[in-house]
Amino acid sequence: MNMKNRNLISITDYSKEEYLHILKLAETFEKEPVQNIAQGKVVATLFFEPSTRTRLSFESAANRLGARVIGFSDASNSSTAKGESLADTIRTVSCYADLIVMRHPLEGTARLASEVATVPVINAGDGANQHPTQCMLDLYSIQKTQGTLDNLNIALVGDLKYGRTVHSLVEAMCNFNTTFHLVSPESLKLPSTVKMHIKERNLKYYQYTTIAEAVDKVDILYMTRVQRERFLDIQDYERVKNSCILDKSLLKNVKPNMKVLHPLPRVNEINTNVDPLPQAYYFQQAQNGVYVRQALIAAILGLK
């Protein structure tokens, strides 16, 4: 499969076969993480807003492939601070790099960048819109822990209304005959525009307000953070905040293959008493991000 010069802006840009191809490549990088196949290539990481995990994970991936990394980690260090348009910045960086990885606080910026860039663009997050590489590493982690992506029961927990990782994961998992268990406070339920994807495929979904109702039925428990700032009324937040917190006591009767995932950063939604348990998979999940990003860089640069 040739994915050379393909942009990755939204998870729907790639077909099911293309995700699976990337996941297969990621496996080869997990087995052999250092492969100097991108020597002489330059990857630009343009982070117009701060990010620790995603930027370092991309830079680590590029370095392990032998590519050099240029870029900035804060818009105040770029000529945007002088008033340059995004389109001009991207056109210019296209002259210096073979691939652009970008994050921006405004939504739709990565799509715009891909239309003006002369090199491929990977979206590393555009505001609350899309973060497709997070979704790819979630898929990789699910496949790795379950041995398959097909016919799984997946619980999505927390802020299902605003969480972009949840929206992308639902869209992607709709390709694999998934049964969805949606756990959220009433005010943070999955939006109807996202539920539409589940309904279009005639897949099953169940809605709950507490983790306890879903946890014993699922193969994957995908946790997200309920953010206090999403609530207009602080009392509403206080009322619901504990319903989506995972504690070790909730994991007594889970399926033997069950794993807990979280896109991180975690605040208090997973009690640290879960960390030593065999179900806790969130730190390995972050590690998987490097392999998946290596696979994407290699495929898009036409090296694999």
Binding site: E107, G108, N129, T193
Partner: protein, 151 residues
Amino acid sequence: MKTKELVVSAIENGTVIDHIPSDKLFQVIKILNLESCTDQVLFGNNLESQKLGKKAIIKVQNKFFETDDINKIAIVCPTATLTIIKDYEVVGKRVPSLPTEFEGIVKCYNPKCITNHEQVTPKFRVLDSREIKLQCHYCQKITKEETLNFL
């Protein structure tokens, strides 16, 4: 006996756009780019209408709109009708229907969308042919009738 006069004169050849809600007249003029039309353009506003209460009408000499232009009118006023005139006679009618995709005309309602911060022409996919549901090509958010604003 009182004779009924045409408030806006008849045209010999061209298009009559009728049943435009009064508050949409200037938007229709703008999206059809009639400001730069060099032929005769006649219009009337706040005319009596049984259907709309008050309406506007535009008559454009020697102009026969392409389907794309006609469909743009649907975004602004789906009630409009177009009548094609040749030698002062009605030779055809066209009803605008929403296009599947279009550029410009409308602003993305999302204040965090890049199109509201950079000089980029907004692009939309029309998700529903009956009601206004326009998905932004850039931020993917959906602009609906109640959040519709024109450029």
